[in-house]
Symmetry: C3
Subunit: 359 residues, 3 copies
């Protein structure tokens, strides 16, 4: 497998500086690439490697190329975003080298006759598709995927093994859902129906039916074992190009704005709205019924209990330090009001002395 640079730019854009007929067949880092490989410069601090690389061609932006002195015999594809270019071409190379399963429904799958499945879709072993489901063109459902009644899966989507999408949900085009993710599970809502106090309390929690769905825009990726609850009345909404990592929990009736990324182990309680282009760090917790503006960044391990209505970076996490020092600081924090009292007393005494001085 080898492609001329001129064929690559025809498909992916960019401009060639050097030999248009140079062929490359795979990708490699600048310092490891050989003459048949394509490398990329995403970070200017590696510029010196461009001067010495043996790569057949280098993806580079115009600014960085201007700084390259040893261009003789080197070939470049000039593009404003070499890293994104690399990602796209790498995906294309993988697609070409990966065996493609034949379209069709595996004999062991259980398909309701009222479901609509595009002829180009690949439905794997033990998949269950309930009544009224719509599966778009080129969708791929891996082993044991479950799709509940009335749910639709947009064209070009890939659901990895053991994904469960409940009834009444909608996945946009080109969704990628990693293994074990659950979409459309019941939101966590119960009406307290108790009388009496303490040991005399009787009654129970009454489940609030969750009759909304989950509505997911195009180009969304959802991580392994992540859970997204269905709405209570209206839908939980994930807008286009949202990227969600593994083991993330998104509560009922949340709305996550387009292009927002959410790192692993984050949890977002119900009815919270997150803006567009936000970045939610790993293991962040966000309370229910709050709003985050567009372009909010919450750093890893922080907790959000109130709305954050201005763009910017927010934090509430401490980095670990040695255990003994931490315990000392923590004990002082617990008694910080006593420090304040001591400062107050000193101020009062100083003021008294000060008055005395003036007298």
């Amino acid at each position: 497998m080898a492609f001329k640079l001129e064929d690559i730019v025809q498909q992916f854009g960019g401009e060639i500086v050097g030999d248009r007929t140079q062929q490359v067949g795979s990708l490699a880092p600048l310092d490891q690439a050989g003459p048949n490989q394509l490398a990329f410069l995403a970070n200017p601090k590696y510029l010196s490697q461009v001067e010495t690389t043996r790569a057949g061609a280098v993806l580079i932006n115009a600014n960085d190329l201007a700084k390259v002195t040893a261009r003789d015999g080197r070939n470049f594809i000039v593009t404003p975003n070499p890293y994104a270019y690399f990602a796209r071409i790498a995906q294309a190379f993988i697609d070409m080298s990966t065996p493609k399963p034949s379209p069709g429904v595996h004999a062991s799958a259980t398909i309701d006759p009222s479901a609509t499945i595009a002829a180009s879709a690949v439905i794997g072993p033990n998949v269950t598709i309930e009544a009224g489901v719509v599966i778009g063109e080129n969708v791929r459902l891996d082993a044991n995927v479950f799709v509940g009644r009335g749910t639709s899966i947009g064209a070009g989507s890939r659901l990895y093994p053991n994904v469960a999408v409940y009834h009444g949900c909608k996945l946009g085009e080109r969704a990628i859902v990693q293994a074990g993710a659950v979409i459309g599970s019941d939101g966590f809502g119960f009406a307290p129906d108790f009388v009496g106090e303490g040991d005399a309390r009787t009654g129970s929690w009454v489940k609030i039916p969750q009759v909304g769905g989950v509505s997911i825009g195009p180009d969304v990726e959802i991580g392994a074992n992540t859970t997204i609850d269905r709405g209570a009345m209206a839908d939980t909404i994930i807008e286009e190009c949202v990227k969600i990592d593994n083991l993330v929990q998104i509560g009922h009736n949340c709305k996550v704005g387009a292009y927002t990324v959410i790192a692993g182990c984050a949890g977002i309680a119900g009815s919270t709205t997150i803006g567009r282009h936000c970045m939610i760090g790993g293991a962040v917790g966000i309370a229910g019924h709050v709003t985050l503006a567009d372009y909010v960044i919450v750093t890893a391990k922080s907790g959000v209990s109130k709305s954050l209505l201005k763009p910017g970076m927010y934090t509430s996490a401490f980095p670990a330090v040695d255990h003994a020092s931490w315990n000392k600081s923590a004990a002082l924090l617990r008694n910080i009001d006593k420090l304040r009292e001591r400062i107050k007393a000193l101020e009062a005494s100083a003021a008294a002395n000060g008055s005395g001085d003036k007298a």
Copy 2:
């Protein structure tokens, strides 16, 4: 589908004020409901909406009804807890409008001949039921559910797709287990069997067999991808009407008291006992071998490292603030002992001066 108010109160209780023959067919919020719909007032701050609603009837408590002046032509069902009443009737409406699968075992399921399955149970595609399992009346097991040998599932329970319940466990009646939850996985226990220190250390971790089970009371709900480990010797215990959200981890030999609710992403380490009627917030972490009294509330993102033996609300989480301010506070906290030293020095100096004054 439409029901007279008098038929509704016959089934669900409450007293009618207004036209007993008024019919309603669905539920809606006060400000959106039409003449064939039932609305409810759970929060007195929306009382003014009761005066203007077009709803066919309103669920309301007696106190709030007393404040309603525009009752003419309006109908009410008076009940002490309109929200719980709403939840119950909503569930009934949903049950009536949801297609019911026929009882029986799907052809693709794998059932050990020694298992006992009630005739009214619905066993879905690719379900695996091992030896000696007992499945109660009206149980519904969705696609790919696994039930290990000797486990029993109480009547009226619903296990969503891809749930795994290991061997030797017991689920009470009316359990709801959302997709991907795991019940009865091995607890995390290993005996260190090492000799030597540092690079010279040899040996290994020896797995402690986990031979207890998981015992779950009636009316328990377990969230998607939540995990509940089996006990090492005795059972892990979840008492009646406990409600557990998604992605919660409950370690081996924990005991969770009745009516306690645990929000998403919480983790409870092994051998911990949580009382009745507790509320554990999202992403809370609770250490192993501690005890929480009845009626303990732990707010979201807090960590519990010691027993909390009195009812009440406990916290150790900070809300996120802007990153720069946080970093300044965090740095000062790290050096809070130096602030204390400076206060001490000032106090010593003031005392010395003070003595001088008195002399």
Copy 3:
């Protein structure tokens, strides 16, 4: 089922003090054991129970045995590590009493003809095994397990129901993977390809293909619903005898050193290296691209944002205290810089007065 002590020591080591022909058939705690049961003393604080136990024999170390005065008629197996000995013998007892499934492939499994499956392996219902997979001797794959193309599973491994191992991964010998775990899901990597700011921003996230695998050493245990991402280029690596609890997230290209244990709900971001013999507490979060030395302990709920290059214990978590006290301390922490200003002012004033005194 009953075994003579002399037969037990022949298999498991240790020395008998007492009657070599004493028979035991099961295990029990010291205070509950009967004459046909084996008990163990792991913690010297229970030494007095050894004096009174009715156990047929007691596992004990030589030091503790020297302190036992009432040895008459009692039997002991002396071993340096009674707890590990107990664990091993308990496992053997369980193995003997647990029904063993017959080797072979369940009729409902879907096996690619190019896969290699050892004759002694047990392949359960609805298992999917793709092309080129290698399944070692005595491997057991429970219901609905998925193994992607080219992946190998080491001899003696057990994968519980609904485990998914993607393509191109390698599990060592004697792996134990609890239900619902996902190994080899795509790492979380996207190249930003946006132009413009604020509302005018256009573009998208471009997925970075994840073409590395996951390489797991022998004797590793992985908890229920835990996720381990595949590497972007090179493999994610889990070394021998690493023990990972439930709901843990391990990002792409992490390396976890041998014998390290990671408790439940911990999350480790991508490209982080954790040393050997580390202990990562529950719900710990570790940032990406950092390094932890061998023998690092991070206490539960702590966050690690920088490398920890020395062995030792690290912490950044606060224990929950009553809500009102916490809020007071938290408010003071938020304004701790003002306390510092007040101290500064007092110091300046004291210095001024001090000069005055000296004058």
